[in-house]
Each structure stands twice: as structure tokens, then as C-alpha cells.
Symmetry: D2
Subunit: 367 residues, 4 copies
């Protein structure tokens, strides 16, 4: 039996180019009742990981990053049967992923009934400390040690490359739910073509949109967007905002889009989007996980057009489960376009660098 795990330890924050991760060997603690030891199969690298390295998202060091994970169950602590969040049994050999754990006791969890706003959420891959038990708390490693009561999902029937996309997708499922769903035939504008925006595009296409328009870039990314089925992709580097707005209006008989999903993190995108949305249209802000400051907005515009604007913060377990519908549909060909390149754990610093450069949609690491 294995007794140690190789991990990519992060002891100091510095940019990817300065190689912040160091490979270390960590002892695997014995399993307690209900704990799970998993051998990592695939870990996605998230834009948030890059933000962490730049000090924009606060975490405590040392840390093991990696929160978009698939592992294979090696051992389960104790003898009681273990179930995933849907009630399905978890067994040795299963491929699983796991989600942030809401406390189910705070005001958000109990009175607001919104677990995505849990006041004491536990997150693997940076938010749980790597300097105390159970140490193996992130996906950039050979093994993970999941706490008893972790929110596990068995994903034997989903390609690991698809599962790592589920982290971005669940935010989009949440966003679409918060914005009142896509009413069949809606014209949807997705602002942004990063991993989150890309999942929004695929989701809108599969959830009944009549027309999907994307504003994003760069050009190569937009080619991919079109290949994946978007009706129109507008290059923000080649087309200025007033012209982008004009194009959306033209594509909607001058009326504007029914739904706009913001996945950019850029405040000015919101002002732009409010010009693109129709009377009584809906707008969801999902890309502002970080605080990027204010943008001048006109209350008269919201009042007159009766736009509904809302936000979507992270996601809860139900959103991940709903997203499985899309993850199961992604073809090998599509996954090859979206999930690449694949780095070994040894090359973790290169993986982060590739993510920082936004060369592809989802960089992954396999031990």
C-alpha cells in the first residue's frame, strides 16, 4: 500500500513564470470512518489558480491547489457503506469528483436555502489548509484525502476530461437558473469566451436558445466558438463596443437579446450588455467573482427597459448534477478541442503558465 503522495506544494506566492510550485512527498494519513483516499486521474487548472498566484484571491500557505478534480477511489475509511450526493454507492475503483462543502447550518444554508452563499464553505484545492490533517487537500497531487462527509459524485459514466469542465459549467447552470432559465427560442448573448463563457455557450445551445451570440476573443478562440455551434461570434479585439451593440441589435430585429450572460470579469461589459438587452430582458452577472471596481450605469435604462439584472455566485450541488447532462454529451472530438494540453504533475508550473496565457480553454494536469 502506498504511504506517501507526491504533491505540487505552494509555499510562496509568485507568478507561474517564476515556478512557484515545488514537488514534495507527503505522508498519507490513515483513513478515518467515511474518509476517502483517491488517486488523482485528472485535475483542471482554473483561472482562479492563476489569480491565487498573483495574490488576488486570498488563501493561506502552504497550499495544494487544484479544485477541478477526478480521482479513482483507492480506499474508503471504516466499514460503513458510503454514498455520493445522489445516494449512489461509492466504492473502491469508482471514478469520483467532489464539490465544495456547505455547512448546512448558517443563515444562508438554512433560512435563505442557498448553499452557494454558505457562510462557512469548505473548499478543496486552496481553501483547506495543507499544513494540517489531512494535508492532501488539493488536486495537483498524486493522491487526495477526502474528509468524511465530503460531497462526492460518482462519475464512472463521464469522461474525466468532461468532469474537469464541470466546475466552470456549474456556475453557468446556476447563472441560467438565476436569470429565470432560457425560455425556448431565446436569443442569448454570452459575453466572454474563457472556460466559463465557453461552458455558457455550450449550455445555452443545449438548453433551447434560438440564437447564441458571443462577444469574446481572441480570433482563434472565436473560431472554436463557431465550430462548437455559436451562431455569431464577435471579436472584441477587432470590433469596438458601439459596433458590437449595433450587431446584436441587428441580429434581433432592433429589439435586443432576451438573455445576456456575463462571463468576463470586466465591469464595462455590463454597461455594454445593458445596451444589448431587450425590453424586459434578463441579464446575469457571473464573471465578477473578483472585485474589478465600478462602472457607470444608467438607472433610467434599467427603469425604462425593465431589465432584470442578477448575479450568480459559485453554485451548489444541484447545479453540478444538472450540468452532468451536458458533460455526458460532449464528444471526444469536442473534448479534444476544449481540454488541452495535458501536463504531468512534474510540469505543473508550465501548466499554470499555459493557463495564464489563455492559450486553450482548459489546461489539465495528470499525475
Amino acid at each position: 500500500m502506498t504511504t506517501t503522495s507526491r504533491v505540487a506544494m505552494l509555499r510562496e506566492l509568485r507568478p507561474p513564470a517564476e515556478r512557484p510550485f515545488v514537488l514534495e512527498e507527503v505522508a498519507i494519513p490513515p483513513l478515518t470512518e467515511g474518509a476517502v483516499l483517491g488517486r488523482m486521474v485528472l485535475a483542471g487548472v482554473c483561472g482562479t489558480d492563476v489569480h491565487i498566484l498573483h495574490g488576488k484571491v486570498p488563501i493561506k500557505l502552504p497550499a495544494i491547489l487544484g479544485h477541478e478534480n477526478v480521482c479513482q477511489v483507492v480506499e474508503i475509511g471504516g466499514s460503513k457503506p458510503l454514498a455520493d450526493i445522489t445516494g449512489q454507492p461509492v466504492q473502491v475503483g469508482d471514478l469520483i469528483t467532489w464539490l465544495p462543502k456547505s455547512c448546512m447550518q448558517c443563515y444562508s444554508c438554512t433560512i435563505l436555502k442557498d448553499q452557494s452563499k454558505c457562510e462557512r464553505r469548505i473548499g478543496y484545492g486552496g481553501w483547506l489548509p495543507a499544513w494540517q490533517h489531512p494535508y492532501l487537500v488539493g488536486g495537483f497531487a498524486e493522491y487526495v484525502w477526502l474528509l468524511p462527509g465530503s460531497d462526492i459524485v460518482v462519475v464512472n459514466d463521464v469522461a474525466p476530461e468532461a468532469v474537469v469542465l464541470g466546475d466552470a459549467l456549474r456556475v453557468m447552470v446556476h447563472a441560467v437558473e438565476n436569470v429565470g432559465g432560457i425560455c425556448y427560442g431565446d436569443t442569448v448573448v454570452v459575453q466572454g469566451s474563457g472556460a466559463v463563457g465557453m461552458m455558457g455557450i455550450l449550455l445555452a445551445l443545449d438548453a433551447g436558445a434560438g440564437q447564441v451570440i458571443v462577444t469574446g476573443g481572441p480570433a482563434a478562440r472565436l473560431d472554436l466558438v463557431r465550430e462548437l455551434g455559436a451562431d455569431v461570434a464577435i471579436d472584441i479585439f477587432g470590433v469596438r463596443a458601439p459596433e458590437r451593440i449595433a450587431q446584436v441589435l441587428e441580429l434581433t430585429h432592433g429589439r435586443g437579446a432576451d438573455v445576456i450572460i456575463e462571463a468576463t470579469g470586466v465591469p464595462t461589459a455590463v454597461a455594454e450588455g445593458l445596451e444589448m438587452v431587450r425590453i424586459n430582458g434578463r441579464y446575469v452577472i457571473a464573471g465578477h467573482y473578483g472585485d474589478a471596481g465600478t462602472v457607470p450605469l444608467n438607472p433610467h435604462l434599467i427603469n425604462r427597459k425593465q431589465v432584470t439584472i442578477t448575479g450568480a455566485w459559485s453554485a451548489d450541488n444541484s447545479h453540478f448534477l444538472r450540468g452532468l447532462t451536458l458533460l455526458r454529451k460532449l464528444s471526444r472530438e469536442t473534448l479534444d478541442k476544449l481540454v488541452r494540453p495535458r501536463f504531468s504533475l512534474t510540469d505543473i508550473n508550465a501548466a499554470l503558465l499555459a493557463t495564464e496565457r489563455q492559450e486553450t480553454v482548459k489546461v489539465v494536469v495528470a499525475p
Copy 2:
């Protein structure tokens, strides 16, 4: 039978103090089938009338203003029975009011099913021209001539002083509907204590709010607000914005209000309100009928708190009908506080001046 009507004609735009209205006699055209001649009983003066005089709301001259009206039916054109918008018969002697008429043919009326956003709405009291048939198109007059097909409501069972409040109230009924209704026990903040805000306060109190907090002014107005039942009234002239926000948070156990209704027309109120609203709270912008420019807002705040922001533009017939519930409940004592002073048509310029000075909630004119 009367053949002419005295009217307060507006031939040139100038401020109330410069006495823009001139009393004239206008011939009453013969009634066509379905038209209604009414003798004015009471006309409310709206803040919009003042904005018109200042050139901020475009209309064509000459005009007869007055769109918050109660009249008594003097004659009905033709012999066919006439019904109001609820199907109730309209008869000579009835007290009636009438609402803006939506075209029921445009995209908003037919496909969006939102008559308040009608693209070709007909409004009495400034929007219908006074230089062509039927001339008598506003409430600041002795008689009105209602076009066949007008959206009439019989209000025999409502005090005329209450009916004139219905114009502001219906906007608030619409706002509350658009913001998802007041969930029983909600803490509601009403920003603004003008006629519209005042109706929002009374509506929230009667629609199941658990706590109603008002930010407005001046002090005398806030005394009235408290007399009418608001739990807390915060004086915007005496308390600065950060402190107002702090007070609302303190009144809500640090969580923020469930619902905020904006009725100020001041862009900075929106930024302030977003700090007052709770996670997953709701915010409706109803005071920005005019374009008062932009305000810096933070998309991160909307994203993180998952606030739902929307607008309410004017109202449709259903909102006026729902508002009757409140109008019927207003006691004589309350009406005396809200609807005063009463001017004769001869003193129309003074009525507008009193409205401009915001001395009372609703100034009225009786011929």
C-alpha cells in the same frame, strides 16, 4: 346643455412662477358613438407636470395638462351600452377615472404582453394634442371629452381624493409585482417620500411587509411617513449615506433589506440601495422615469450578493385595478393629510407652484 368648457391652456413652456397657464373657453365637440363627456371633479397635479413646464418631458403645445383625474359622466355618445375596463356599465352620473390607452397591436402589447411598454400609448393630460379634435384632453379643465374606446374605470365607491393618488400608486403596484411581490414579513426599504414613494410606503405596509424603512425628506414629510405607519424614517438631509446604510443594516441584523423600492429619480440612490439590500435581495428602480445620468455601480456586488435588480415603467390597467384595494381603505383622515391643498382652476398656476415646492404629497385642482 353646456356648449363650452373652461380650460387651463398651456401655450408656452415656462416655470410655474411665471404663470404659464391661461384660462380659455373651448367649444365642446358633439359626442360620437362611445365617447364620453365628463365634468371634472378633481385633478391631481403630478411632479411630471412640473417637469413638463421645465421642458424636461417633451410634449407638443398647446396642451391641456392633468392626468390624474376624476370626473362625473355628463353624457355618453350614441346609444350602445358602455362598459369600463372591468366590464361594469358606465352611466351618466357615474364618477369615473381613465387610464393611458395601450394600442394592443404593437410588439410590446402582443408578443411581450406588457402594455406598460406599449410603443404607441395614448395619454390624456399632455400627450394627446389640444389643438385638434376632441380638444378637451386634459384634467385641468371644466370638462373632458373621452375618446371612444378609452380605458375608463367607474370609481363611485372611492373618494375622489383617493382616486387621484391612483396614478402614483399604480406605478408602485407594478414595481412590487416586477420585484417578485412582497414576501410576507419582508423588510422593505422605500427610497423617496414624494407622492410615488408615499404610495410605495402605504402599499408595502398593506401588502405584508414586516418592517418598512423609508429614506427621504424633508423632516415634516418624514413625520407624516411615521404617522402613516412606517417603522423607521431616515432623513436624507440630516443623515449621510454611509450612516443611512449602517442604520438599515442594523435594523436587519446586519443582513440588509429583503426588498428595496427606488422612488427618487436620483442615480446615487441606486448605489446606496445596493449596499442596503441583503444577499439574494430584490431591488426595483421605479423613480427614473427621466434620464438623470449614470452612477458608478459595482458588478462584483451584484454578482456576489446575487441581488435581483429590475425596473418598473409606468403601469398597466391591471395595476390600477389592484391599487383600488388600497385606495378604498384610505381614511378621510389619511386623505386629508395626503391630498392638499385644493386649488380652483382659476388658481392653476399656484397649484403648479405648490407642487414644484413639494410642500405636500398631492396638490389637487377642482374646477
Copy 3:
């Protein structure tokens, strides 16, 4: 210029086998301003047409049936430009369809804002009388004469075979809207595999359902259902109700379906469906256009499971427009499976007979 039109006149109600339709020549009235003369391209035969022949849906005779229509514009009355319900110009040579016309004045149209419940709806193909101007009021004819103000949709970019499916589809779009939309990944049960159910299946598949289960028959129809993408099709002729319920529960981890769409017209289907739906699930009754009597239902079940049950009556223009998204996507191969056989007007009685026998999904008539 043509001066007469051949029509399939219905002068007496009798079953299809007794050949109720007689071919007649009717004079084409001159066009008035805004009226449209169209040469029929394709008319779908609806199950309702069969019900009419059996006296189950009351109409006045003589009548020209056919309310699922595509025609080509031959002439437009007057000189004013004509627009369809989206604002797009209607011109000679265009392929168009038209929808039931709501009055836009009744309580349902104005206060309830629900045009599908219009109290005075005008329907072509049986509801407008064929014995008075403009006579040519149904699709089982060579020409149609559309009244000024008709709700026309230009469908140049849609296959005529798809357009005739739009009548059944719009009811399903309405049903899905009334039931709160399909939340992405929902398991949807469609009860019924007739034309309406078939459109419900295709709609659910395209609107983001994670799993679509069908209960219907006969076997050949279910083969088609599976070919079109349904995950599971249960034969009501081969599998008894308790077993059907058990299968749905098994397919949903014992929890029941998220959404059930009833398109059977059989009251017992509702009792069955309530056993198939999950806690807090949604159920829409869309197949009970006719009154087929009562069924014993258990209020405790509704109370305990908190099921939301609702209905969808016909549809309004917005639903047809939304349905175009699906109609445009239907491949030639799919249309060939769904829309057949094609009869000439001469064989109208055979077309009705084929419809009565439910041999195919949508029988059509072309002049």
C-alpha cells in the same frame, strides 16, 4: 387572375368514412385594404378536425376546415405596406402562415394579459363561417382570403412540412412555459405520442431535458419516438399502468420525474402521472382540449408531494414564434417521418380517414 377557388366544403357532419367533404367552387371576393389572398401550399389535418366530424367540437355549417396552413401570398388588398406579427414585411410571393386572432379587448386579453384565453378569438378553418364574407376561411381549399388585421407570420425560411407542425408545437411551447420551463437536465415524461405529444418530445429534447421518457403507442409510433431521440418509450398497450409507473421511478432513482407533460386527453393519465412525478415536481395538462370527464385524484398526494399541476390552453403568438426555433431545425429526414402521407384536395376524405386511424403523425393536404 383567378376568380374562383376550389374548396372542400363541409355541409353535414359525418365520419370520414362516409365522405363528408364535397369539392365546390367558390367565388373569390375582391380584396379590401389589408386583406390577403393566398394560394394554399400545404394544410395539416388535425385530430380536432376528426373530432369536429364526430360532433365533439361544435362548429357551424357549412364550414371549410383546415387550420394548420401554409400559403403563398397572391395578392394584398390596398396599397399600404403590410407587416407580419414580428414587424417583417409581407409581400406577394411570400410563404406565410396565420394564427388565431385574439380580440385584444376582453378581460383575458387586457387584464389577465393572456391572449390564449381570449373570450372572442377568431379561428380560421372551422370557427369563422364559410357562408358569409369572405367565405374562403379554411385551409382545405385552393385559396384562402385572410381578413385585414390577421396575425400572419412570414415563413419563407421554414419548410412547409415543418410549418404545419407548428400548430401542435405551439401548444407544447405554451405548456412548457406554463409549467415553469424545463430546468436544464430535467427528466421529462411526455404522456402521449400523437402529433401534440410528438412535438412535446422534440421540444423537451431540444430545450435541455436530461432524459425524455414517453408513454404512448402503438409500437410503430414508439419506434419513431426512439429514432427521434427519446431515451425511453413505454408502450401503453403492452405495459400496464403500475408497471409504467414503476419504470419511471426506476429511471429516476425512485424519485420520480421533474416534469410531466400530459398530451393524451385521457383522464386516467393524470392519476398515473401524479404517481410518476417527484416531490416538488411539475405537471402540465395539455391534452384535455375536450371534456373527457373526471378521474379520481388524491389531494393528499398533491399536498404531500407538493406537486405543481397546471394547464395550457391553446397558445398565443409568442409561443408560435418561439416554436420556429424547432421548426427550422427539423431535417428533411425527420420531416419525411413526421409529415406523411400527402393527399391532394380531391382526396380530402381519405386524408381525414388516415388521420382518424392515427397511422402517421401528421397527414397533410396539398391542393
Copy 4:
């Protein structure tokens, strides 16, 4: 310090008239960390308690009933600060109530986010066993022993007589929420004038209903209903169902009520209510906690009127908190009418008998 508590022990099921409860002395177990010992102030007797005695609601014996409780905190186990479900501190001397405890781990709690449908809910007053630790698990006793983690609400600012009404009220708050809220001015029919119906009436009146119509009985109860503000009360013992339906239609201009709240537990009430509700109206079944069998309903009626029918099962903590708004408003005069008579623990059997006879709205027991 007290070491024993007098309790009304239920060791055998038999009707109230046969005096099923026996007073016993039970030792008070020492408090563990976070447990609370309370001296009972007031316990409401619920109709469910009577159903339990008749064997219609299964529980295990011996049991201590009483689930509508107010007690005063005597002692808190351990030294950690204790908070109620809103975060407010719980201290010795506080008046508190407590709610059923949802597990927050099952599918309903986590994925459906509906704690009222918790699969493993813990209820005091009959559902927790009285033969094992901590024994003192019901309100018909001198003391209660609340388990650590119990869902406590501090109610120092609410009259104890009001608090015991909160159990029935929270179901109505839930029902109103599930039925889409009361839209301002709605006509609401409450079917039933028992404790739950009575709370529904008061809630509708305070939540913005324009007209509240009650169908119930007997006559004395309806007099009370009218005193409390209902617009119309129809006696089901004196007026037959068709006439009741006719009255509701007449009171709504022939259109039917906007909202119907069922609080009868009688299946035929649902058929009756479906005739009373308007097109697009809403109907919530809240009185069928027990299974009283089926009733013939017509799917065509639901389809044609597009009624939305739903259920409300128990309630969650948020509903109780919202209900506090009403509980705080109840005047002493109203409480004296609703909450009476008061029995001592010694007379517990008489209290159950009075409840069985439905002589008053809420019988209470004080030690």
C-alpha cells in the same frame, strides 16, 4: 434545582373521553453541551394530537405530546454561547419556542433545498420517543429537554398565546409562498375555519388580499371569522356546495377567485374549489396532511382554466420566522378570542376533549 418533571404521559391510544393521559414524574437528565432545559409556559393542543389519539397518525408509545410550545429557558448545557436560528443569543430566562429539525443531509434538504420535505425530520411532541434519553420531548409537561442543535427561536417579544398559533400559521405562510404569494388586491378564498384556516384568513388579510372569503363553520366560528375581518363567511352547514360556488362567482364578477387556500382535509373541497377559482387562478392544498382518499376531478377544467394547483407540506424555519410578523400584531383582544380555554396540565384530558369538539380555535395547556 428541580430534578424531576411532571409530564402527561401517553402510554395507550384511546379517545380523549377515555382519559388516555396519565400524569407521571420523570427524572430530568443532566444537560449535555448545547442542550437546553426549559420550563413550559404554554402548549397548544393541535388537531393532530387528537388524530394521534385516534390512531390516524402513527407514533410510538409511550409518548409525550405537545408540539406548539413556549417555554422559559432554565439552564443551558455547557459553557458555549448558544444562538437561535436567526443568530440571536439564547440565554437563561428567555422565552423560546422550537421547530422540527431537518437533517440537512438528505436529498430533499440538499438537492431539492426544501427542508419541509426532509426525509429524516425530528419532531418534538410525539415523534421523538419518550422512553429513551432525553425523555422530556413534548410540551404537555412541566419541563422540556431540548437536544443540542435544536432549532430554537427566542420569542421574548411575542405573547405566548400568539406563539402557539405559530405552528398553524407557518403552514399557511408556506402555502401562500408555494401558491406564488398573494398578489396585491387578490380575492382569496380560504376553505376551512379551523386553526389552520383561521391563520390563513388572518394571513391573507395582512398580506394584501383585496377580499377574503371563507367557507367553513359552524356559525359561531364564522361570526368570529367576520369579527377578525373576513369580508364574507359562508356556512358550509347552511349553504350547499353549488350555492357556495355561485356566491364566490357573484363576489368576483363571475370570474372566480384569484387564490384558493384549502385547509379542510376534505377531498370534495378540492372539486368545489376548482369551480370557484378564476382562469389562471391558483389553488393550494394545505389541509390534506392525512390521506382522506380521492375525489373525482376534471382534467379538462384544469386544462381550460389553466389553474395552478399545488400543495404545501408542513413548513420550514423561514416560514415560521415570516409568520412572526403576524404573531406580533395580534392584539390581546384577538388572542383572547382565538386562544382559549386554558387548561392546567392536570386537566390535559379535558383539553384534548375540548380540542376534539372543536369548540374553540386553539386550546392551550399551562403547567
